[in-house]
Symmetry: C2
Subunit: 259 residues, 2 copies
């Protein structure tokens, strides 16, 4: 391992640079190296892997103190990582961490998540990267258990690295640390967000729609999923990769006689 | 197969409801059933799987004629699919198609793509879904070859369905139909978008950044990828799934002694 003073760690999130979850994660990371934070100027939840293509991006240095430099960025979490790697840091970070997200990114929420979009972008760049999410949507939740879990995982990743093209999606149940049973390696549960749009009428008598939704776990009896781990008192760690190819489905198509 | 008059097909895209690629796709689809189009009000390229969480969404009926109803939606491509399924269509579509995208969505671009975000959202909902992209970024490209390829694939999917939780990412080279060698089943090439942000100074002397980038194929010699197929004159079909779990990486973590 590099000595801490030589190690640069990049932090981002999708809740914005002022979020209490970001500050709780900075507290975890700062003993491990020099910290650069590039986080969104405003909330960017649900932004997935989106990038800003038709507008320019602004970057603003918010604060600089004792090995921690904090920037806000007008782009998405993925933009934050791209801009940080290209314009802010002068060396390749040893690690990129994103979070603590205020709310779950388990199951298919990983695909909607801005927190995990940033992590996957770092993974494309060959940097060990981890997203941390606490299953608590409050503005100021208790992150103390999440911090202990994060330290455990970060030390393992700093010591052992991650396989090529693999990053981690870590979710932590809303429990005091003493009630968390452990950390479970899990697969992504298959599920669905069932939307119920709420239709309203504006003062000009025009309709508009608010998206609301409930998550449904399609495999509640499977015991090897992140959803199972979380509902049974474990933090979940899902190794995530960036190859969406459905290899198992190839046999379905070979009979199509493509050429 | 259902009779055409009983079949409902939902179309969307990420370039906007007026895009020539959308119109070219509507032309392909309309012989196969009743068509509902819910497409973004403005360009939503690069929006990935993002959803609109902090703003309401507007829906506007633009036109209705002979079994084709077209709506614009202020949200992302994924919002378009969610809103269409929840508020617009009165029966589950037999298929969702997205495109024709103006530009490639091969390799890891599938993860940034709004076109494919919509397709994956339909896949979550158990609907056979296909994204079509032409490797031509012009506003009015020649879609005639893409239309022939699309008909070929759409008829196969209508006849044989798709495996559960699998959708298709179809990319078509910028070639006349006579020069396209065939349709190749392929895996997603691993690659990276290398960004070079262009820093400019605004009239108030403040900096801003434009994202630019070049795609680099990390495995140019692999002959089973979508990139290989496209650069060798084939249309590529990559079956895509929605489980990001890196199963092959589990063995890396079992030595971590999590519990």
């Amino acid at each position: 391992m590099l000595k801490n003073k030589e190690r640069l760690i990049l932090i981002t999130n999708d809740d914005g640079y002022w979020a209490s979850g970001l500050n709780a994660l900075i507290e975890v990371i700062k003993p491990y190296g020099r910290v650069v934070v590039v986080a969104p100027e405003k909330g960017e939840s649900g932004k997935s892997h989106s990038i800003t293509m038709s507008l320019p991006i602004r970057l603003k240095r918010i604060s600089e103190e004792k090995n921690i430099t904090l920037y806000s960025c007008t782009g998405t979490p993925v933009d934050c990582v791209k801009l940080a790697l290209n314009q802010v840091v002068e060396q390749k970070p040893a690690m990129v961490v994103s979070g603590f997200n205020h709310g779950s990114n388990s199951s298919i929420s990983v695909i909607y998540s801005g927190t995990m979009g940033a992590v996957i972008e770092a993974c494309f760049n060959g940097i060990p990267s981890i997203g941390f999410s606490l299953l608590d949507y409050q503005e100021f939740p208790d992150f103390s258990a999440s911090q202990k879990i994060a330290i455990n995982i970060i030390e393992k990743v700093l010591a052992h690295g991650l396989p090529t093209n693999v990053c981690l999606n870590v979710n932590i149940p809303k429990l005091p640390f003493s009630k968390i049973k452990g950390i479970k390696l899990a697969r992504q549960a298959m599920g669905i967000w069932k939307e119920e749009f709420e239709k309203r009428i504006d003062p000009s008598q025009q309709p508009y729609y608010w998206m609301t939704g409930d998550f449904h776990n399609n495999e509640p009896n499977a015991t090897d999923t992140d959803e199972w781990a979380l509902t049974h008192g474990y933090a979940s760690v899902v190794p995530i990769h960036t190859d969406l190819t459905a290899y198992h489905a190839f046999k379905h198509f070979t009979s199509w006689h493509y050429e």
